[in-house]
């Protein structure tokens, strides 16, 4: 933490950053929230620990529009998220100073966050400065996905339909997702009405399928969609299912390489046709 504050002070002093996006502990409530730190601000409130769950990358586009240089504190997963944004020309890397911090895992509701289970790296794949350790981790397990895959189709649908039914279409999941940045989301488009605007099972199903599909190969599993969902819809599960799919089918883990194009726009003549067919093992 000391090292981080020191680094940030240095960056401010050198004029390398205008603002730094980080985590602030509210002295009153003790809650940790995303916050934009400015030069003359005390950095004492800045924290980095297991309470820093939120992915800050989502705020970058707004900030880079207002400041020319933005520093950002990144966990491993957030860094993956940033990588996916860079490759899609969402943010100009020159405007970013990426402060990778060795992440020891975060906690949601007092428990280790689910997303940390399959985390591939403690350190952001994109960094300008690295603070703390870099630990590469093993291949993903996707144990929760596998649990679902063991169910019969009807059971699976029952499981998801119950959640889809509850969706209020508040779009918190979309709004917090760095990768959901369409100018006009397909869910907001009136003609053709691929997704009807009203919150009902059929339209909600369309919404969740499309949300998950659009993130396939782009989602870096920051898990924010699920965390912010007021109805606790297991969106990470769907994201993970597709993360597992792109890993198995194309050998890709999104966000691990800031140069790597999303697998769904990569031309591959070598894919076997079997990927389109039948039950997968």
């Amino acid at each position: 933490m000391k090292a981080m504050r020191k680094k940030i002070k240095e960056l401010f002093a050198n004029g390398d950053v205008d603002v730094v996006l980080g985590y602030r502990e509210d002295p009153a409530s003790g809650e940790v929230k995303a916050s934009v730190f400015k030069k003359d601000e005390m950095l004492e409130d800045m924290v980095f620990d297991e309470r820093c769950v939120q992915n800050l990358v989502n705020y970058l586009p707004t900030l880079v529009a207002r400041y020319s240089k933005v520093g950002i504190v990144l966990k491993g997963c957030d860094g993956r998220s940033l990588a996916t944004q860079l490759v899609e020309h969402r943010i100009n890397k020159n405007q970013i100073v990426a402060l990778g911090v060795g992440c020891e895992g975060v906690k949601v509701g007092g428990k280790d966050a689910d997303k940390c289970e399959d985390c591939p790296t403690s350190m952001s794949p994109v960094t300008d400065h690295e603070i703390g350790d870099k630990k590469q981790k093993k291949d993903p397990v996707f144990s929760k996905v596998e649990e679902i895959e063991k169910m019969s189709p009807a059971e699976r649908w029952k499981f998801f339909a119950e959640y889809f039914e509850r969706c209020e279409r508040c779009y918190a999941c979309r709004q917090i997702c760095p990768s959901c940045y369409c100018e006009i989301c397909v869910a907001d488009q009136q003609e053709p009405k691929w997704i009807e605007p009203s919150a009902k099972l059929s339209a909600n199903t369309m919404w969740h399928l499309i949300r998950a599909y659009h993130l396939a190969g782009r989602c870096a599993d920051c898990g924010e969609c699920e965390r912010v969902c007021p109805q606790e819809i297991p969106m990470r599960l769907m994201n993970n299912a597709l993360e597992k799919a792109v890993h198995e089918l194309f050998g890709v883990r999104p966000g691990m390489d800031p140069e790597e194009l999303p697998p769904l726009v990569v031309l591959s003549k070598e894919d076997p046709d079997t990927i389109m067919g039948g039950k997968h093992e």
Binding site: E88, H89, R90, Y181, C182, E183, I184, C185, V186, Q189, E191, P192, K193, W194, H214, L261, P262, L264, V265, V266, L267
Partner: protein
């Protein structure tokens, strides 16, 4: 909304036998979109089309659905009918109730029900169809001919004579191609060089032809009428502008160990050399692999001696992009390396040579100055065996196809041999003789009957080098049914005709199809032998398949006529069914550009944002970008989301 005219065709009994056409009309005429509904025996006939025209006039319908055969068959017919009445031709849609309904359904009730559904769906769809205007794109009336062999030269000359500019691209230092290496040509035995050189010179001097040697295609963008071809000129280390072609450099160059490609590797040449005396242009090229100055920074004799100071040791490859309207591919062939035939000792035995090597051995410009001496010891070969079909018609070892020209050139070789060595004996091992061209058969007969060449029917099993320096050729004579062997001084293998090594790379750059062997595929084997599936790209010569000189020349001229016909127009008409980006909805992620096969998507400034833009001329309308765009900022005219959505949801 909209007022749709619905026309259901009986197609004689083809549809009406299964589908209750009247019921289809009766069921659909009350749909709110339908303003007119009618059935007719043959909608594609003149009276059928007249029905449409009349309904447009009298019933002021503004959309048309024709339920008949496949749109692949008659859509253009009905589009014309609409256009003739002033209605935009893209406001018609066809319901395929013949190929996809009446012809594939057993039960008449089911067929009728399906037909109703199919037509209703098209009615819903057609309402969403937009009027589209054909796109006219200007055309660059310059052609590029890739490959400066005889086919390419002929094509270039014909186009140039038609008063259009041509770029003649050749990857080697001189145009001329394979024909320049040949001694005499069948079936007339006229001197190859003598008939080719004037053409080469004519091409060089033609004001409409720009010859670019030492150059290769690196990239092809664009589309018919507006190709952008990136050409790379290799480093030659000689300034072509300054060089006067005196040849003193190649004389003085101390490195004389470079295998001479022109002579099929039979001798060596200097590291700086003009490829052959009649080369066009007659400018030497330094081979950097061998040049001591370039490799070791020693020597540099050529530069010192060059009267024109044309040597540039720090030359580097240069890329340039040229705009052309049409492309002729005339990259020719290469002779197969017979090394796979280890039993023939190709490559191992110095006197087992290929057909092209034989050409060079008998050529007056060849390594021996036209005297036929065998490579190993310079002895004049008294017995020569010519082996046909080496690599051709032999699927197990090389190619299944027939190389087409070997029967004839082997016959020619035997004659040339007899002319050089009148007391020599030639043998030909053959499977059967294919001589279908004009006076070809007579030519072969002349070899056998007048020159006394012995034709042995059968495949050579093995060639063994004997102690005495002779080569024992084990073969058979199937006509008499026994194994024979011939002890020869030299063996000539009629090695197969193969596509160029980089043929597939070029095909992929051009986006043209190629067959399993690597020869380029014509658009139609009979009716479009010159065209490729890609508009504006034509084929000439042996790159499309083995060919002799007359056929190559014919194809060169044919391709030129295609190009000239294309250039007779000032603009190109392009289908308007292309994709467009709504810049207000685009986020500028540009992922669409990665899936575009035609590089048609570029970046553009839109206000403060960066957005994707589709170049209308380049877009071919495949829709890959549309499916990639998550925000649906891209619309493909003719296959918009609206139209497809309506088709999906309006099926009952």
């Amino acid at each position: 909304m909209a007022k749709v005219g619905v026309f259901v065709c009986h197609c004689g009994v083809n549809i009406a036998a299964k589908v209750d056409v009247k019921k289809v009309v009766d069921t659909l005429k009350d749909m709110p979109e339908v303003g007119f509904a009618e059935e007719y025996k043959f909608m594609c006939s003149s009276p059928g089309q007249e029905l449409i025209r009349k309904a447009i006039k009298d019933n002021s319908i503004n959309r048309v659905v024709v339920a008949a055969c496949s749109p692949r068959m008659h859509l253009p017919t009905f589009q014309k009918a609409l256009a003739s009445e002033g209605l935009n031709p893209y406001l018609v849609s066809m319901a395929n109730i013949r190929e996809q309904c009446s012809w594939v359904t057993d039960d008449p009730d089911e067929a009728t029900q399906k037909a109703i559904d199919l037509v209703a769906r098209q009615i819903k769809r057609v309402v969403h169809q937009d009027p589209l205007d054909d796109i006219y794109v200007p055309m660059t009336k310059t052609a590029i001919v890739i490959g400066g062999g005889i086919a390419g030269i002929q094509a270039a000359l014909d186009i140039a004579d038609g008063n259009r500019k041509v770029i003649l691209l050749e990857k080697s230092p001189s145009i001329g191609g394979r024909m320049a290496q040949l001694d005499e040509t069948f079936p007339t035995l006229d001197c190859s060089q003598c008939i080719l050189t004037p053409k080469m010179v004519e091409a060089a001097q033609h004001p409409n032809i720009e010859i670019r040697v030492n150059s290769e295609v690196k990239k092809v963008d664009g589309y018919v009428g507006n190709f952008e071809v990136t050409i790379e000129k290799k480093a030659t280390y000689v300034d072509a502008q300054k060089c006067i072609g005196c040849g003193i450099c190649q004389e003085k160059c101390p490195v004389k160990i470079v295998p001479d490609e022109f002579n099929a590797g039979l001798n060596t040449r200097a590291a700086i050399a003009i490829p052959f005396p009649q080369a066009v242009p007659a400018i030497p090229v330094i081979d950097p692999e061998y040049c001591r100055k370039i490799k070791e920074d020693k020597c540099g004799v050529c530069a010192k001696i060059c009267p024109a100071e044309a040597i540039v040791f720090d030359d580097a490859p240069k890329q340039e992009t040229v705009s052309v309207g049409a492309i002729i591919v005339a990259t020719g062939y290469k002779e197969m390396d017979p090394a796979v035939y280890t039993e023939y000792g190709g490559k191992k035995y110095p006197d087992v040579i290929t057909g092209m090597q034989f050409e060079r051995l008998v050529s007056s410009t060849g390594p021996t100055g036209g005297e036929l001496k065998r490579p190993s010891d310079g002895v004049i070969p008294k017995t020569v065996v010519f082996v046909q079909c080496v690599g051709s018609r032999d699927e197990s070892k090389a190619h299944a196809y027939c190389s087409g020209i070997c029967c004839m050139y082997t016959a020619k070789h035997t004659m040339l041999y007899k002319h050089h060595v009148p007391d020599g004996q030639g043998y030909v091992s053959y499977i059967d003789v294919r001589a279908p061209g004009k006076t070809y058969e007579e030519f072969v007969r002349r070899a056998i009957e007048e020159e006394g060449v012995r034709y042995l029917r059968g495949r050579v099993a093995k060639i063994r080098r004997l102690q005495n320096g002779k080569y024992r050729v084990y073969t058979e004579d199937t006509l008499v049914g026994r194994a024979v062997h011939v002890d020869a001084d030299m063996v000539v293998l009629a090695s197969a005709v193969e596509p160029q090594k980089d043929a597939v790379d070029l095909a992929q750059m051009l986006g043209i199809a190629y067959d399993a062997d690597g020869f380029y595929t014509e658009a139609h084997p009979k009716l479009k032998p010159i065209e490729t599936a890609s508009a504006g790209i034509f084929l000439a010569g042996a790159c499309q398949g083995p060919k002799d000189i007359p056929t190559s020349v014919q194809q060169g001229s044919a391709a030129a006529s295609k190009v000239l016909a294309l250039f007779a127009r000032d603009t190109m008409v392009k289908s308007p069914q292309i994709a467009t980006v709504d810049p207000t909805a685009c986020t500028g992620c540009l992922t669409c550009s990665y899936v575009c096969h035609y590089s048609a998507i570029e970046e553009k400034e839109f206000g403060k944002h960066r957005v994707a833009e589709i170049i209308p001329g380049k877009c071919q309308g495949c829709g890959a970008c549309v499916a990639t765009c998550k925000g649906k900022a891209i619309t493909l005219a003719g296959f918009s989301d609206d139209e497809i959505y309506e088709e999906i949801v309006s099926c009952k």
